[in-house]
Amino acid sequence: MQKQLAKMKQSLFDQGYLDEQFIQLEDLQDDANPNFVEEVVTLYYRDSVRLVQNIEQALEKNPLDFSKLEGYMHQFKGSSSSFGAKKVKTECTQFREYCRAGNAEGCKRTFQELKKEYATLKKKLEVYFQLARQAGPVEKACRPK
């Protein structure tokens, strides 16, 4: 089962869903917090619901307040980066570029992509963590190739 877990993790990295920061977080898991990464990811998805709603509401305004949107996205990016959500982070960066360019359509389009990546990652990590719980504690820092 550990092999299956390692393979799943490798796949998440190969497909660009996660980056090195995820490993940094796994390195922090200890007896006090054996499921630290899962806790962080759960906190992220719970905490970011409000932010997603704020961005959606802000995108309905006409004209768009690009400065406000950039602020929201800066926060989203910071949160996403903290556990290695690579694709989500990339969409955040793209969104902010469109904000700076004053490109409303670009912002709206990118936000749809971002929500897709955000939702996909959530599903994939749910499966990963379920398997991780079944597999039990791993040896420290199995870095993907």
Binding site: D47, G71, H74, G78, S81, S82
Partner: protein
């Protein structure tokens, strides 16, 4: 270093993001710090005003109510001698420069990593 009765270094995490506070809190705890966390610069200033003291302050740059630049400036005006480290993913040089000039010891990339903190500690203990 002031430390505390257990001779651990103390760190205050100042960040408006709950996830970042959790991650940085765990990282710093594992590296041997005793940590506390607040959500914005005003809360950080209030803690020091109330008499609390920290060896290190890890200060986010962009926060509501009071941002990191203003909070750092205020803390230095108050005579706070803690090692205040900026933590930001912002890549606007002018903003980072202003942040540094407010009184930071250093500015690190967000999210913090084990290596970045270890390097920082090495530099700080040399001074």
């Amino acid at each position: 270093m002031t430390g505390n009765s257990k001779n651990k270094m103390s760190a205050l995490i100042v960040d408006d993001d709950k996830v970042v506070r959790r991650v940085h809190g765990k990282l710093l705890t594992q590296l041997g710090f005793e940590t506390n966390a607040v959500e914005n610069g005003q809360e950080a200033v209030d803690l020091f005003t109330s008499g609390e003291c920290y060896d290190f302050v890890f200060m986010d740059m962009e926060m509501p109510i009071m941002d990191g630049t203003e909070a750092t400036q205020k803390l230095r005006e108050m005579g706070v001698k803690s090692t205040i480290v900026g933590v930001t993913s912002c890549n606007v040089e002018a903003k980072k420069q202003a942040f540094m000039e407010a009184g930071l010891y250093a500015c690190l990339e967000k999210p913090l990593t084990r290596d970045a903190i270890s390097s920082l500690l090495e530099q700080v203990t040399k001074k």
